[in-house]
Symmetry: C2
Subunit: 348 residues, 2 copies
């Protein structure tokens, strides 16, 4: 048994019924994939909230954000020959990919890291502008000084790309546009410079369906270059289709420790770990041969999209990595890794 | 008739038999898609040379560059069920896209812009490192001061991306790595800064086969951000599948003038023009409704990949835009536009 995650007995921590929909004609379908940060001595989650209208028997209905910023409902008859709706997450219609749900980001906070509530006075973050008309998703939070850098998946009819915003108070945000062009997601910025440059992981998807982790560097967090493919899928049962970074890597004495997700061709998502050289994070020191977490609890196996554990946020306290994760693309859960046990799995 | 290009009577200017293959066991299959620049009072082309081995009746054979820098020949039996070889340019084998030819870049120069020869003492530019193992292609040249910036398509098992090198003397080159990650090509850098930033066009290809022109900005040419989708395919007969920038845009009093290529779903390639705001090149002032050039000469209609005119290099002298182009993905040709006629086609 390679799963070394200690799940919270309180799981799930958040579920769709934990939150009212943003509009009367929408339902919260999923709460998932939270970014995690500390702010005002509390643990905060920035949760992806995926909404959609009640579905009828004759049409697929999904929301999009118009160019004027309004949420509009699109309806496509199920009998329309141009509709491909075999994936719960994506609709292909007349050659364009639409999402079945529209996601925004919502803050939750907690004193103990287990019981989360909606803080007053903090608005939701919604897609804005023509590169976010299908929503924003899966936010990573990188803190440097008193500034938080949010990297998230920006989805629109122009493709899936990486957007960035920054904030100091979680009430006002500066938008920095698309920092990595399509098709790209899973961008996590390192929390300190290395040899004068900022670094980030990201995950392009190519035409021939390669989904590997790349590393990029930046002088200013806004502009990125020197892109390198550093971690590829492997032809084994748990990571043969897609790999993508989780949150910002953890700086340890042994190297940069990154918890990543890996999906196989059956769309089953696992977590793995990789250790990168402190001075040159394009160099891999060690990588787990087996997943360190795999879907096994009932709330991970069945849901909006079953057999998924996906993390993009954690807090570190000594040996303990407390991480939050999306389960079955529907629920927010929590668990812990012992760093010593992760190193053991890495063989270092 | 919307084709306003005045083709050179000397066409084709360069063809595969103009050049000896780089190795005895390879054949030059195509000379195409030249970048263009002035250097030492001559007109220079940096031509893509696509080579492959003699093909047998039992296997597809193609060259790749190994990690040690050697060119190796790969052979895949035609009867292998995992082989998909329906496109002259690309082989899909076991889920990975390979190229049927391996491209490098070769310099040619000319006193009159029509008769080109191989200059002595200038080596070919070949793919280098693990992001260029399937070769380098379609180089754009942007001159600023005495430095030439080369942006080209870098192809490898890691995907299709934009690589950059720079030079002052065309003998020694500095490599700048991958500046835009996969899937991306057709990157052309503007020849001056706008409001303190460098700008470039590039062309991502998304999972749902969107192929639109994006604009990015940079403080230093190495790192790029604020990516915006600015010019999309349109549902008409000549540009409904792919659009991509040509060379660096031409600064005119009316705006930045860009000659771009457009392919339709039948893989027929045309040229169009777009005029962008001088102060904010993400704003489109005008775009040609009809192509300003389309394949019609015999050397454009039939060849390695027929029905293609593709330009990524030009020189400007007053009203005259002298441009060089790849014809049928096999030959290098030349032609001229009158700028006044291009503006007329743009309706400005």
């Amino acid at each position: 048994m390679s799963d070394i995650a200690k799940r919270f007995p309180e799981n799930p921590l958040l579920k769709p019924s934990s939150l009212k929909a943003s509009r009367a004609d929408l339902r919260v379908a999923c709460l998932l994939n939270p970014g995690v940060f500390r702010f005002q001595n509390k643990t905060w989650l920035i949760v992806r909230v995926a909404e959609r209208p009640e579905q009828s028997e004759i049409a697929v209905s999904f929301p999009v954000i118009s160019h004027t910023g309004e949420t509009e409902i699109m309806n496509i008859p199920l009998k329309d020959a141009d509709l491909i709706a075999s994936d719960a997450r994506v609709i292909r219609y007349k050659g364009v990919d639409f999402l079945t749900t529209l996601s925004h980001l919502q803050l939750f906070c907690s004193d103990d890291g287990r019981n989360f509530y909606e803080p007053e006075g903090y608005a939701k973050l919604a897609g804005k502008g023509r590169h976010e008309t299908f929503g924003i998703e899966d936010c990573r939070v990188t803190q440097m000084g008193d500034t938080y850098w949010l990297t998230y998946t920006a989805v629109s009819e122009n493709g899936v790309a990486v957007g960035m915003r920054s904030t100091k108070d979680w009430k006002s945000f500066q938008m920095h546009g698309i920092i990595i062009p399509p098709h790209n997601k899973d961008c996590a910025i390192f929390e300190e410079k290395i040899n004068g440059y900022y670094y980030a992981f990201h995950r392009p998807s190519t035409m021939d369906n390669q989904n590997n982790i790349w590393l990029a560097r930046s002088p200013d967090l806004m502009h990125w270059g020197d892109h390198k493919c550093i971690l590829k899928t492997r032809d084994n049962a748990w990571e043969n289709a897609r790999v993508g970074a989780g949150a910002a890597p953890i700086k340890t004495e042994k190297g940069w420790l990154e918890i990543y997700h890996a999906a196989n061709r059956e769309h089953r998502y696992h977590l793995g770990a990789v250790l990168l050289d402190l001075d040159d994070p394009s160099k891999i020191i060690a990588r787990t041969e087996e997943p360190i977490m795999e879907p096994k609890e009932s709330y991970e196996l069945a849901g909006f999209f079953g057999h998924v554990v996906f993390t993009n946020g954690h807090l570190v306290d000594g040996d303990r990595i407390t991480f939050y994760y999306g389960a079955a693309d529907e629920l927010v859960c929590g668990a812990e890794f012992s760093m010593a046990e992760v190193f053991e799995a890495l063989g270092v």
